[in-house]
């Protein structure tokens, strides 16, 4: 049964974390809707957390989990502020499409 797929190693978790991060990056780069952009950023943060937890388990050290807690705290703060900005933006410009917000572009 020894193979690439069966004994779950750190590599599997790292590949999964990298995939999650890349899907998030792709979402940030190609979507126009700001709400979905924020969701993609949450996906990226989760990809990082998967990595941290996998290393924490490998070394039997709880510090990786503490780092993940800080990342979750920052992600929650970021989501709250981001959505607040989004509501203010929608109230003023009546749009949430990222490429229509070009006030600073000339």
């Amino acid at each position: 049964m020894e193979g690439l797929l069966y004994p779950i190693t750190l590599t599997h978790y790292l590949v999964l974390g990298a995939a999650l991060f890349l899907i998030g990056t792709l979402g940030v780069l190609v979507r126009r809707n700001l709400v979905i952009l924020l969701m993609s950023i949450e996906l990226m943060m989760n990809g990082v957390n998967v990595n941290l937890i996998a290393f924490s388990r490998l070394y039997g050290d709880v510090q990786g989990q503490v780092f993940a807690i800080f990342i979750i705290a920052v992600a929650v703060a970021e989501a709250a502020i981001g959505l607040g900005i989004l509501i203010a933006l929608f109230r003023n410009k009546m749009t949430v499409q990222a490429d229509e917000l070009q006030l600073l572009k000339w």
């Binding site: 989760n46 388990r57 989990q65 703060a77 709250a80 502020i81 410009k93």
Partner: protein, 190 residues
């Protein structure tokens, strides 16, 4: 051992599938629901890695907090109209270059480590027994409130600032009426 692999692949499928659906759906509500699926998958991976506290935090904060916030905002800004618009920004070349570049880098790194025979046994984390005798939450609290006390306080400050900032940003401003802003500041679309 085998059950670990089965659970890992089911949660991985849930995570990746939910993530892909999140960034491809036109309707933002569907995206938010797919995001919930993806986050549940990540929470399952936390549980599989014996990180029970983070599992609970993930469910409570992300699924109970952040995604509900997302759903509230989606309802508030009324995205039904937006679902009919063009959904993708057309930055495909940039996106492909960025994603493929990082993916190649990651795959190359993994392949290099995979070829070394020692790492394959050393990195088999599912086989490792948890070293601690006390509970996961207790160990986290020990480290968090001794070694990481200052960052912990900084995080609480950050959250307070975020809460106040979010309320200030989202609040309706009666004083600043749109007609009082000069037209060149307002732009043509207001």
């Amino acid at each position: 051992m085998l059950m670990d692999a089965v659970f890992f692949y089911s949660f991985a499928l849930l995570t990746i599938g939910g993530a892909i659906l999140t960034i491809t759906r036109n309707n933002a509500v569907h995206s938010a629901l797919s995001l919930i699926g993806s986050l549940i998958g990540v929470a399952g991976l936390f549980l599989l890695q014996k990180a029970e506290f983070l599992f609970a935090a993930q469910i409570l904060l992300y699924i109970g907090g952040v995604t509900v916030l997302f759903l509230f905002v989606i309802m508030l800004v009324n995205l039904d109209e937006e679902a009919k618009f063009r959904q993708f920004s057309g930055q495909w070349v940039l996106a492909l270059v960025a994603v493929l570049g990082v993916a190649l880098l990651a795959v190359g790194g993994f392949a290099r480590y995979w070829q070394q025979p020692t790492t394959r046994t050393e990195w088999a984390i599912a086989a490792k027994a948890p070293v601690a005798t006390e509970g996961n939450t207790e160990r986290i609290a020990d480290v968090l409130f001794s070694e990481y006390l200052v960052p912990f306080e900084a995080a609480s400050l950050l959250l307070i600032v975020a809460v106040i900032g979010a309320v200030l940003l989202a609040r309706k401003r009666e004083a600043l009426d749109a007609s009082e802003i000069p037209t060149e500041v307002r732009g043509e679309e207001v």
